[in-house]
Symmetry: C2
Subunit: 149 residues, 2 copies
């Protein structure tokens, strides 16, 4: 055993666990970030183009089409999307629900950033990553803040 463990006062265990819980939450959010971005994008493409094709999805995301197809496979596996061979991608009801939630959240995050004075370009760029870590509770606070303004 390391001597320092004995000489040092016991660390604050609850605080340590709370910190670990925060990191775990961030890791969990990260693990669904890709699903969220795909759902939002597929929904956008269907709305604006009438269909969501793997190539278009890939180009918008800046990844290869092979990568996009692999992620679409995960979406299907998780019950968020469907597609038939050589046909476009569609969202299941669960996928649609996710897309709506994600789109709303994305917009609110951008609006909040703009409201506190972040320049347009930075707001739009940073929101793409930030959004996935904004909890419902935080989102509510953002909405209330924007209302008050």
């Amino acid at each position: 055993m390391n001597k320092s463990r004995v000489l040092r006062p016991a660390p604050d265990l609850p605080a340590e666990e709370a910190q670990a819980a925060r990191f775990e939450k961030a890791r969990l959010a990260q693990s669904t970030a890709v699903l969220e971005d795909y759902a939002e994008l597929i929904s956008d493409l269907i709305a604006s183009e009438g269909e969501a094709r793997p190539t278009d999805i890939a180009r918008r995301l800046g990844v290869s089409h092979a990568t996009a197809i692999k992620s679409i496979a995960r979406l299907k596996r998780e019950g968020l999307a469907t597609s038939k061979l050589y046909r476009g991608v569609f969202l299941t009801p669960n996928g649609e629900t996710l897309a709506r939630r994600v789109r709303t959240r994305h917009r609110l995050v951008v609006d909040l950033l703009l409201a506190v004075g972040v320049p347009q370009g930075a707001a739009e760029a940073d929101a793409e990553g930030i959004e996935h870590h904004v909890s419902d509770e935080t989102l509510r606070a953002f909405a209330e803040f924007l209302d008050r303004k």
Copy 2:
């Protein structure tokens, strides 16, 4: 070729590229998030406990010690940390610089969230993920907003 590509008006290419750039930026930020959290945590542990040991790092992060050791290996590979066999972990000058920057940013993000009305617990939890996606430009806007208040 898909018929719809012909019938549909040409999509706005610059906008598509801009969107891809935003996603790419988010992916890049994600790829350094782990390094940032480790640097910040190692610095905190050295400050508060006098040393940063793999077991303590692992417990604070909520991962196994094997995972922590593997990530520490990456920190070393990237010139951010050093360690000798069975000894604790230390930050290189580059690692220290990173830790300082990350700690400052972390605090600013929490403060900004609190300032717009996010409850303490949610602010601290969400900040752990959000921080990695906050650009310098956005951070500056946060600082100015907090100053104005």
